[in-house]
Amino acid sequence: MSDMMEVDSLTQGVDPKRHRSERLFRAFGIAAIALSLGFLVVMISSIVLRGTGAFQTTFVQIEIDLPEDKIDPEGTRNPEELALVRYGSILKQALRERFPEASTRAQRRELYRLVSATAEYTVRDQVAANPDLIGTRAKFWVRSSSDVDMFAKGNIDGSVDESQRRISDQQISWIESLRSEDALESRFNAQFFTSGDSREPEQAGIWGAVVGSFYSLLVCFILSFPLGVLAAVYLEEFAVKNRLSRIIEVNINNLAAVPSIVFGLLGLAIFLNFFNLPRSSPLVGGMVLALMTLPTIIIASRASLRAVPPSVREAALGLGASRVQTTFHHVVPLAMPGMLTGTIIGMAQALGETAPLLMIGMVAFIVDVPSGITDAATALPVQIFLWADSPERGFLEKTSAAIMVLLGFLVVMNLIAIVLRRRLEVRW
């Protein structure tokens, strides 16, 4: 009994207020996470729902007469000449045969608009690859126009008034007729991943933007990684800690917070107007992005250098290693995983950056896939911006699809950062 008296009761004297505040805090935390997760799910699902359509595209099958006198009048079957034949009229002829009810000019124009402007090249390439087709009647699968594609995917509502939609009742009846004969097919849209931008939604692809982004990031990495790491190493391991180094430190931190468009203006004023570097090129884009990424890399690198235990430096110095030897034999290798992670995160930031690239002209409409860092190019986020700005219905899903591709790259880069960290991290 006496023992019981010595210990205060464990259940009495509990402060209900403290308990309530603990529960409240926990509830707030859970609510905050749930809310942000909810937003994320809404955002990603809306993008995915809108964008997945762009990975499929509609093809139309038409039977085409391939008269020898029009295609290869001399009968040489010279592949070079076959690659230059124009199939426009042949294709139109085939369409008129298929749907003879199109009699007026206006109706015929609508008819021709069922297929993509690239359809004649598809036919040309297939005939050139297989010249035996000349003189026969053959069936070809050609890309439909974007409007037909949109209708086939259900993105254009056929029930609204004809004047309110981009596709006429006549065209709808043709499409339904094609569909009933299995001459309408949805296929994987490989062109989306292999071609550059286009004014026609059904032909537009992201490869040009992907390559442009790749070159920009390459330039950005080559410039910012060594500069950033060396600056961090100097500031952390060699610089005397005085007023000047503190001012530099504060300014680097401020630089990390400068709006990216300011770096774009700087690039415009200096790289383009003063040094006359090629406008719209990944070279200048990468240089501007490097300016933007540098502070991030420096800050991350300094943090990881600071995380290297001082005992490692002491051990090396105590053995008679010089400061440079100590730094580069021991400290930098140990800090490297953190530096790389910081760099990759900085690069991921740069990959998603739009504003500075707008300032240096990477927003131009460029069809060709760039073949070097001085070619005019665009970048993934700018491509998204351009497509989001386009009025055609077909670009809506392209925009979302491009966002998915961009997010995919970002996820991959962050995964690489995590894997590198795991792989290279040394425990002691």
């Binding site: 051990a315 105590g318 030897q325």
Partner: protein, 259 residues
């Protein structure tokens, strides 16, 4: 330099030395001699400046910007704080073992080989391997690690790590080894192993050791310097300090009344 020792057989002599950390003075006018091929123990309560003094002996304090050393510290007659002294050359002569075992996160072999490599002490791979083996043998670690030289040094036990650090220090053949509480992070068995090792190393090297443990100082050292609040209170043969301390503060400290 033919006569590497000063008159009284000391390899390092500290004279009239003051050390400041910024405005704060850590060591007041200290005179100490580190006797050649002997173990000199620096003892005293925490914050008495014994580690600070030890770190002055191979200029490890240089990395602390606010630390300022005034006075005359000579290694075999050369002023180690003279402006023309190369710190790297000094530290090659005066090696150091730290409080916490700090092997590099590299293989056991590379840990020991690092010093000889940066100082170009060996001519061939075989030569280097031989030196690594010799150093590990002298540190009493060879038998335990000879089959796993390529494994990380950080994977060893605490006592083994500390002996690895000793092997690493002696691989560059220093004249003096400074030990900053080398056993404070170790268990009693590992401590006993290191103490035996220190006694053996005395034959080839001069050792200065900072320790918190009175018994350790009594067991391993020939000379003892007792510091209190930055002052050298008493310096002399270990036997005398422990059996017949002249100063009351020494008496109080070794009997456990202060500290």
């Amino acid at each position: 330099m033919t006569d590497n020792t000063t008159q009284n057989g000391a390899i390092i002599s500290v004279r009239n030395t003051d050390v400041f950390y910024g405005p704060k003075q850590a060591i007041f006018n200290v005179d100490v001699d580190i006797e050649r091929n002997a173990v000199t123990a620096l003892i005293g309560p925490s914050g008495c400046g014994k580690s600070t003094l030890l770190r002055c002996l191979n200029r490890m304090n240089d990395v602390i910007p606010i630390c300022e050393v005034k006075g005359d510290i000579q290694l075999a007659g050369q002023d180690i704080y003279a402006s023309e002294v190369d710190v790297v050359a000094l530290r090659q002569q005066v090696g150091m073992v730290f409080q916490k075992p700090n092997p590099f996160p590299k293989s056991i072999f590379d840990n020991v080989a690092y010093g000889p490599r940066i100082h170009n002490l060996t001519t061939s791979k075989a030569d280097l391997a031989e030196r690594v083996e010799k150093s590990l043998r002298r540190a009493g670690l060879w038998e335990e690690v000879k089959d796993r030289l390529d494994q990380p040094g950080t994977g060893l036990s605490g006592g083994q790590q500390q002996r690895l650090c000793i092997a690493r220090a002696i691989a560059v053949e220093p004249k003096v080894i400074l030990m900053d509480e080398p056993c404070s992070a170790l268990d009693p068995i590992a401590t006993a192993t290191i103490e035996t090792l220190i006694d053996e190393l005395r034959e080839r090297f001069t050792i200065a050791i900072v320790t918190h443990s009175m018994q350790q100082a009594a067991r391993v050292s020939q000379n003892t310097a007792f510091f209190h609040l930055g002052n050298l209170v008493e310096f002399g043969a270990t036997e005398d300090i422990f059996n017949a301390p002249k100063d009351e503060r020494t008496q109080n400290y070794i009997t456990g009344r202060i500290g």
